[in-house]
């Protein structure tokens, strides 16, 4: 157990360094981007004088390094700062958006992970049967269509032609949970379709990968049913790669859903980030990127810890 704690600490400190480097990269990338907040907000209506005045007001006329350093010092003290564009406190702005993002990510994950595991196990169990093939083809098709397209098709069938679900995921905090779940069901299904295939294929592949191992043969020699062989003997030993892929996909659910947010008009963090990039609202971009990067790092860490926990060899040393 101590070694896990040690690893966690080591990885967390590495994560902090990673975050620092990420913030540097993002900052410089936004700096290199043509135009700045003043130009982007004023857009076509900008004149050199108004831009200069705007820049001065925002402190954008100071050198980049001093701006970065002051951002960093505030950041270390836990102060995310304020949006350059409209002065809103970033912590408020982000906490809303991020909780929305997490909500729909969790929603999709709760559907997708068990579904992927079940399908993967069934596909491994009935490998090369018609079930395997159909599951394979349908899930593959679902990732070969662009996300927005999957979303449109779902909307067409479940919303336009039959009004089962709303096409806008327009939620607010005041709604009861059931209402929120109802309104976000289409984005959740879309995301499920997007991530389920990768997890399912990995489940199937890594189970099949251990099917040739002697302990699986042993289980069959003990007269265990095929289902029990797969669930109790193959699966526990195939978990590590599956966990890793699940983590990657969960990270995607949190980080990579901009398109789905746009299509369902769901106010998540992704859309905020894209918006802020286009407006060069650097403080918001920084904060949102760090949250995403942090999520990614944490999920990977959790996956690694779980992989260790799933492996008695590492959990119970000799």
């Amino acid at each position: 157990m101590n070694s896990i704690l040690l690893m966690t600490l080591k990885r967390l400190s590495l994560g902090v360094i990673t975050l620092f480097v990420v913030s540097l990269i993002i900052f410089s990338a936004v700096e290199i981007l043509p135009g700045d907040l003043a130009q982007e907000v004023l857009g076509q209506t900008a004149t050199p004088e108004t831009i200069a005045a705007f820049r001065h007001e925002l402190g954008l006329d100071k050198p980049a390094i001093s701006r970065y350093v002051s951002w960093l010092t505030n950041m270390i003290q836990g102060d995310f700062g304020h949006s350059l564009a409209n002065g809103r406190a970033i912590s408020d702005l982000l906490s809303d958006r991020f909780s929305n993002t997490l909500f729909v990510a969790a929603y999709a994950a709760i559907i997708a992970v068990p579904l992927a595991l079940t399908l993967g196990i069934l596909a491994a169990l009935y490998r090369n049967s018609w079930f395997d093939r159909i599951a394979n083809i349908t899930t593959l098709s679902s990732i070969s269509f662009p996300e927005f397209f999957v979303a449109y098709i779902l909307i067409l069938f479940l919303s336009v032609n039959n009004s089962f679900f709303p096409s806008l995921a327009n939620i607010s905090d005041s709604m009861p949970l059931s209402e929120q779940l109802y309104r976000t069901i289409l984005p959740a299904i879309t995301l499920t379709l997007v991530v389920v295939v990768h997890m399912m294929r990995m489940t199937r592949a890594s189970i099949i990968n251990v099917l040739a191992s002697p302990y699986v043969e042993m289980a069959r020699m003990k007269g265990m049913s095929p289902a029990r062989v797969i669930v109790f003997h193959a699966l526990p030993n195939a978990l590590a790669p599956i966990i890793n892929v699940i983590a990657l996909n969960l990270a995607y659910l949190v980080v990579g859903v901009v398109v789905v947010e746009v299509v369902f008009v769901y106010p998540g963090l992704g859309q905020l980030l894209v918006d802020s990039v286009s407006k060069r609202d650097i403080t918001v971009v920084q904060a949102a990127s760090l949250i995403f990067a942090g999520t990614f790092i944490l999920l990977n860490l959790i996956a690694d810890i779980l992989s260790i926990l799933s492996n008695p060899r590492l959990l119970n040393p000799r």
Binding site: P214, Y215, G223, S225, P236, N311, P312
Partner: protein, 560 residues
């Protein structure tokens, strides 16, 4: 001819013993999916087993003994299928039985003990859980009573701390203990038949004895019938009532153990017996202190000095001779080889090669030194790049060390292949995967020879091979040594190999050298205490050897 006769006899046996016959196999044919498609690997084998009887199935790899053993459970591995014949277990036709029916037999009435217990236990669950799985799922016992019985069996099998050991995970206990735990698991449902598939092959000689005796006792106590599959005659001699010899998917000979050992009928059987006795001409003794290699006060450790594995080792190797390093697994003999090559840099000490100190790390050695000290690995499978042809594998050192190119290189490759008794034109463009284990090991030798070295380290080069094949390899090495005056450092756990090839022997235990002695001196009394234990553990052909040995050890224990 003989096979027909055998068939006739077993036919009559069957009629005699209809009442207590547990398993009959008739005309069994098994096909396997080979690279070229389906091919028959077992060509109509018969087998009979009475209740409570132990049958030894013996043969070299490829004889089909494992496939037949599994067929006794109505089971065919991935890529195999039972094509023809009849398998009757207690009146149930396993060829016709449904999967469900077979499932209900397996584990409950027919059990299986696999070669490698370490690989065959599910690493993700505790021993006792796996023990209880079969009795519970077959509806024979509650989990409490299964657990109670497990502990009982663990006790009978002489496992340490039987109350607790079951709650440990497979990786936490040693190989010998695991093999006994697996036997216990096979016994969990008190089956009528257990199939032992080379259960001690992967074990050291000293642990092998414990496992053998444990298996034998328990089988006898429960009067369980067993099929004992092995390639080791001495082992089967201790276990079986009757022996069936197989070769290339056919039965060669069936007889009861005593008859088979004393009067084998078939030439093939005789040849198997003969392998056990290698005799080698004694070499001329070289000049007393012409040492080609000396290890002085070597200590080494893994993992940044946390695990000390070698303690102050001193070994001297004379030019043109063979020095064998023997010991059980974990004794540090392979580490010694790695330190010598510099792949593991020794923490302390000195390596002298031709009286010159070598850098401890191979990266600091020059090409010429590297060329002169070559290494042959235990597993030819992993030592040869599966994606390179034999020609490429052997050609690389020629090119790399000696700068040979084009025609000259090809000619040298062919010469080397001929030197290791492989047909050059046939093998030069093949991939390692298309070769048998012995052939691969020959390629490894050719690769080492290609560098024209003075010194070759042989790390357990024969331990993965059948006896007949390894005999061939040993003879080859011996011949090469004589013609090329190469010095060998021979690492092995097999004392018969040592006897066959070594001029001098180093015995190692727990990272220390126990003794270094000339071979004939070592194998003659008086023995060093540990050496004696090692020597006595080597199975002998005598069917009573195990009983005698155990008796003897018991007495010694009582005395002390």
């Amino acid at each position: 001819m003989t096979i027909c006769e055998e068939n006739l006899t077993s036919e009559t046996v069957k009629q005699d013993t209809q009442a207590d016959s547990l398993l009959t196999i008739r005309g069994l044919k098994i096909s396997a999916l080979l690279d070229s498609g389906w091919g028959e690997i077992v060509h109509g084998v018969d087998l009979d087993l009475k209740a409570g009887e132990i049958l030894g199935l013996i043969g070299e790899s490829g004889a089909g003994k494992s496939s037949i053993g599994l067929a006794a459970m109505g089971f065919a591995r991935n890529g195999c299928k039972l094509t023809e014949g009849e398998i009757k277990f207690d009146g149930i036709d396993l060829m016709q039985a449904s999967e469900k029916q077979k499932q209900s037999l397996r584990g409950a009435r027919i059990a299986y003990v696999a070669q490698s217990a370490a690989a065959s236990f599910n690493p993700a669950s505790s021993l006792i859980k796996q023990y209880c799985e079969a009795p519970i799922k077959h509806g024979l016992m509650s989990s409490e009573s299964a657990e109670k019985e497990a502990i009982e069996l663990y006790k009978k099998l002489n496992l340490p701390t039987p109350d607790l050991i079951g709650f440990r995970y497979p990786h936490q206990i040693s190989g010998g203990q695991l093999q006994r735990a697996m036997t216990a698991m096979a016994m969990s449902c008190k089956p009528d038949l257990i199939i032992f598939d080379e259960p001690t092959t992967a074990l050291d000689v000293t642990t092998q004895i414990e496992v053998l005796s444990a298996i034998r006792d328990i089988v006898r106590e429960y009067k369980t019938a067993a099929i004992y599959i092995t390639h080791d005659l001495a082992v089967v001699a201790q276990m079986a009532d009757r022996i069936q010899v197989l070769k290339d998917g056919n039965t060669v000979e069936i007889a009861d153990t005593k008859t088979m050992l004393s009067a084998p009928k078939e030439d093939y059987t005789k040849s198997l017996w003969a392998v056990r006795n290698i005799n080698r001409e004694a070499k001329q003794q070289s000049v007393e202190d012409d040492y080609i290699l000396q290890l002085k006060n070597i200590s080494a450790s893994y993992g940044n000095g946390t695990q000390n594995v070698l303690h102050n080792i001193n070994i001297n190797v004379k030019r043109g001779q063979t020095l064998a390093v023997v010991g059980e697994s974990g004794s540090g003999k392979s580490t010694t080889a790695r330190v010598l090559t510099g792949l593991l840099a020794a923490g302390e000490g000195e390596i002298l090669f031709n009286n010159k100190a070598l850098p401890l790390n191979y990266k600091k050695r020059d090409k010429e030194t590297l060329r002169h000290v070559q290494m042959i690995y235990q597993m030819a499978d992993t030592a040869l790049n599966p994606k390179q042809t034999i020609g490429q594998i052997i050609g690389r050192p020629l090119d790399f060390y000696l700068g040979l190119k084009g025609e000259k290189k090809q000619a040298r490759i062919k010469a080397l292949l001929a030197q290791v008794d492989l047909d050059p034109d046939k093998y030069i463009s093949r991939l390692p995967g298309e070769l048998s284990g012995g052939q691969k090991q020959r390629v490894s030798i050719a690769r080492a020879l290609a560098a024209e070295p003075e010194f070759i380290i042989c790390d357990e080069v024969t331990s993965a091979l059948d006896q007949v094949v390894s005999e061939g390899i040993l003879n080859l090495l011996d011949r090469l040594q004589k013609s090329l005056n190469i010095t060998y450092l021979f690492i092995t756990h097999d004392l018969s190999t040592v006897k066959a090839i070594a001029d001098e022997v180093v015995v190692m235990l727990q990272g220390k050298v126990v003794e270094q002695e000339k071979t004939d001196v070592l194998f003659a009394p008086p023995y060093h205490e540990y050496t004696k234990k090692l020597l006595s553990s080597v199975p002998q052909m005598d069917p009573n050897w195990l009983d005698n040995l155990l008796k003897q050890r018991q007495q010694e224990r009582n005395q002390s």
